[in-house]
Amino acid sequence: VATLFWQWLTQFRQVIAQSNRARRSLKVRLVLWNTVVVAFIALAILLIARNGTSLLLDRSLLRLLEEDANEIVLGLQSEASWSEAQNGVELQRKADVHRQEQWFVELLDREGHRHWATDSAPLTRSPLSSAFREVEKPLRQPVGAIERVRVGASYAPVREQQRQLDRWAWAVSLLAIVAAPAGGYWLAQKATAPFAQTIATARRLRPGRLDERLPVRGTGDELDRLSLTINGLLDRLAIDVRRQQDSLANSAHELRSPLAAIRATAEVAMTAPRTTEDYASALEDIVGQCDRLQSLVSQLLLLAETESDLTNVHRADIDLQPLTQSILEMMEPLAESRSIDLRSHWESAFVQGTPGHLQALLVNLLDNALKFTPPRGRIEVRLRADHQQQLAVWEVSDSGPGIASGDLPNVTKRFYRGKATPGGSSIPGNGLGLAICQSIAESHGGTLTIESELGRGTRVQVQLPLIDH
């Protein structure tokens, strides 16, 4: 018996577990809830209707009896004395007409004893309370021994009507309880059907295959909005993945040229016996190319670092003012050696960030400005705290040759190098500087915007979220 019981228990548990799993499905939950709500509402309505109707029936019966009683009282009062032959026959005739409802009249004396009654009146009074409804009225002036009139009728017809109502109520409730799950299932089916397609599409998505989008049915409902939101996310992801892929390929290409230079230098050096000076100069070339490789690799690492959120660990509250000041102090002699007028305005502006990265950002911008501004040009660095918009604003403007409007959207792309300016030599650097600046600004929750006019100069503005300090 114990084993049997145990088996039964295990099976029971499995069934419960299965139903638990099933309950997680949106459709099942919709059906269940729908059934519960519909059944509850149907039952409540029926209950109220049934009781309300009974109450009304009861009231109207009482009112009728009261009217009858009043009429009899008035009839008796108009006579001087009770005459069974006249009044009694009349009342008995009415009782005969309403025999089905067991309508009756009792005339009572002072002690409440029966003086006269129609033959439909019940003989005993004990069960009256539930089987009959009755109304008692006193006479204003006794007519002979008669002082009170009691009119009554059987309650059975009302009961019968109530029972009929109950039968209807049960039938409708049962129908509701049966129909609710079916209706709920239909509704749930209709509501969840679009999800199936969305799920099927989403299941097919892969990082390498981000061209598919979730279906939008154009109804503007929640599901459409969800699909649109997810599609937006997919768009951004696709752009990012594409950028990463491009960037990886570009990085590999960029690493190639210093490698090629190293290889060529070394191989040529080995093709024939050379003097020590020749070897030394070849090795110096190789070290120079290694420097190029090294700076490229560290810039790529910096870029990767700013793009991952890992760097958040080192975030601190930083005042940009001393940082700006020390960088300017460092760059000043370089500007002076090129006769460039380097001006600056600053005020205290606190941001949350990684000091090394913010430093790299400004150094890069200044480096760019110094690189492109001709001798006797002008560079202006400005740091201000915009308390209204909660922004720390860094601005570096120069009087360089400017950037062609066609190049402007591309200058922050990785490895993008603008065409050589007319009269100028080819542009130095590996095309990562501004990409790094933008990445740093964005990783700090800020933006980097570039305005430029050919022949007039360039202005780079970095906006970072200001914090209170």
Partner: protein
């Protein structure tokens, strides 16, 4: 100096081994953590150059084991991983200094001698060497009794060169020192500042202290016969005491 080099990469190991021997050190080269620990016990080197990625166990583990037995000898860690966290982990495990691959050989030499010197004398805020005195608290430099007026950047550069005096310091080292991180800014900046520093530090005096080492970097040499820089630098450690 007797050194132990722990490096599993054949090419890097060979280059460092040869370079250290040519710099006048006695260098023993092992390629895994176990032999490193064995050599440490039997050979008593004066300093260790430790690669973090070894075939049998991580360099950090070797480092912790060295420190666990109470051995305080200077350890210079080499690694390809250069993020701040990794640097912090290395230093917390007991490394005296940290060098990210790829590095310049002059930097390895400079840092090596710096950590050996550091472990031998107390730290002072007033450094004297020859006729040059640096006051780190007041950020003042005095040569032959004459105060030299320096900008903060120039003083910072001089302080760094002083720390590695007698050793060649590469432009990249100075760059990293100025920028506080491994960010390679415009190297021109360093040159401009060094030129200014040189004009203030050397021009009014009888001999130049700030020497350019062709193709390698700069060196601060406080002794008057500073041109002879191929020989080992004169011991200047007492100056820090």
């Amino acid at each position: 100096m007797k050194l132990l080099l722990v490096e599993d990469d054949e090419s890097i190991g060979r280059a460092i081994h040869r370079g250290l021997q040519e710099a006048g050190h006695q260098c023993l080269w092992v390629k895994d953590g176990d032999s490193a620990l064995r050599q440490l016990a039997s050979d008593c080197p004066q300093a260790v150059i430790l690669d973090l990625m070894l075939p049998d166990r991580s360099g950090l583990e070797v480092l912790r084991q060295i420190r666990a037995i109470g051995n305080q000898l200077p350890v210079l860690v080499l690694t390809a991983l250069g993020s701040v966290e990794q640097r912090v982990t290395g230093l917390e495990a007991g490394a005296d200094d940290y060098l990210t691959k790829p590095f310049e050989f002059v930097e390895l030499l400079a840092r090596l001698s710096a950590i050996c010197r550091r472990s031998s004398g107390p730290v002072s805020t007033r450094w004297t060497a020859g006729s040059l005195v640096l006051d780190l608290t007041l950020r003042r430099a005095v040569r032959e009794g004459v105060e030299i007026n320096l900008t903060p950047t120039e003083f910072s550069l001089l302080e760094y060169l002083f720390r590695f005096r007698g050793q060649t310091v590469s432009r990249r080292m100075l760059c990293e020192h100025l920028w506080d991180a491994s960010w390679e800014g415009v190297t021109n900046v360093i040159e401009v500042h060094l030129t200014r520093l040189r004009s203030k530090l050397d021009r009014p005096f009888s001999f130049p202290m700030l020497v350019t080492v062709r193709g390698q970097g700069y060196m601060l040499d406080v002794a008057e016969n500073g041109g002879n820089r191929d020989t080992a630098p004169p011991p200047t450690a007492p100056g820090e005491a």
